[in-house]
Symmetry: C2
Subunit: 248 residues, 2 copies
């Protein structure tokens, strides 16, 4: 089974948290879908819309985003390959935030009806979707703590640690370094700083030897020290645990 399909990536992602059996995997891979490619900054979901399908990020990076009345933008999360981008629309009709492509992206778009029906027929899959949503919620809570209660240095370091750790879970990191395709302005929107201050803070982290940069590639010469500086504790990512009992 599991001939090549773009949805293998989704299977792998869900399987990180919940043990799927072969039938579950086959059911996921059999989901109807179209693959679409979008250029950087394209909107994948717009606040207020009711998207007809849910998008899975196959390749590239994306982010969730929301705007304040005065035009200020807050990036709410960074999504990496394998991440479902709007699974919440299994449950809500109306998008409450925007999802935008960070780089060139490839998406698999699955009709909501098909997702609903597979999650009705296979409780473990429904459970895996719910777990995925809860892990995202946990990450958002950590971001709230990050923006609310950490200074610029700690905040940026924490973001770098999180992305590195999540990418490693998908085997997208080379010897403790990775390409972070975000401009400093986007980093600022994610950390609630300004691009200028992000620049200064990155340089200071670099001077301290906590990170090394070459264009947008980031390396971690001293991962332990960076984690310590960030106060980074990966438990909120809920890795490792192959979730609880599946329902039932």
């Amino acid at each position: 089974m599991s001939n090549y399909s773009p949805l293998n990536l989704l299977v792998r992602k869900l399987n990180n948290h919940v043990a799927l059996d072969d039938e579950d995997k086959a059911a996921l891979i059999a989901l109807p879908h179209v693959v679409r490619e979008l250029s950087p900054a394209s909107y994948i979901v717009r606040e207020g819309e009711a998207p007809p399908g849910c998008a899975i990020l196959l390749d590239g990076f994306a982010y969730r985003q929301k705007l304040a009345a005065d035009g200020g933008r807050q990036i709410l999360s960074v999504q990496i390959p394998g991440d479902p981008l709007d699974l919440e629309h299994l449950f809500l009709d109306c998008a409450d935030h925007n999802v935008q492509a960070l780089t060139q992206v490839r998406l698999a778009i699955i009709p909501r009806a098909a997702l609903r029906s597979v999650s009705m027929q296979r409780p473990t899959i429904a459970h895996a979707f719910a777990v995925n949503n809860q892990v995202e919620a946990s990450i958002t809570r950590e971001w709230l703590l990050n923006v609310g209660r950490r200074d610029a240095r700690t905040r940026l370091a924490h973001l770098l640690c999180e992305v590195a750790t999540r990418l490693q879970g998908q085997d997208l990191v080379n010897d403790y370094g990775y390409e972070l395709p975000m401009t400093q302005e986007q980093l600022a929107d994610a950390t609630a700083l300004t691009n200028v201050h992000v620049n200064r803070t990155l340089k200071s982290l670099e001077n301290e030897g906590l990170i090394r940069r070459d264009r947008r590639a980031i390396r971690f010469p001293n991962w332990q020290a960076l984690k310590a500086a960030a106060g980074f504790d990966p438990r909120y990512l809920h890795l490792g645990q192959q979730a609880a009992a599946a329902p039932g």
Copy 2:
């Protein structure tokens, strides 16, 4: 049916978002549970724990909370009567944040196994739980925007608007005013400010005529103006919509 039970409050809350039929309601009310009373500041869930049951807030207020390495505390949400406090443990084994009583509280505690089994047998109930979780996630995202991209005045005003609106949904507001049982220090932890600055900001909102205060009771002499000052748009609360199709 629906003889008096503390769980009627849960039924009502879930029914705000998803239309439950009589059998769903009966199944919810039939859930085994114990009622427990806790004093202010008691921990209801501790980060790292695996609670054996899920708590429903029957009476009083509670909040979610997380600590940074340096001791800074970020309040992640305010929970009002009717709110499930840790439905996420239907899906995750390990708590990623703390839940604490704000006032004297009365809880109904339902064993996780019973919740799982009812959500297996009644897809609409499972759907309602998931919708509830997603609405909470949406609120957290709005808080991230609030803390990240609004100044102190707007931020506090937004929090007041949100709590007022949610309380109104549960008919807990008297002629546009309510008792907000939070100290200014707790307001500070929710808005990522300091108690001193919360104090000054509240006074300034009061001087502008946007709020009136009498001890911890808050009134809104000019609700529209407050909403405007806060940039408050209640769509993120996902009220009004009786969710989508129930699954299936």
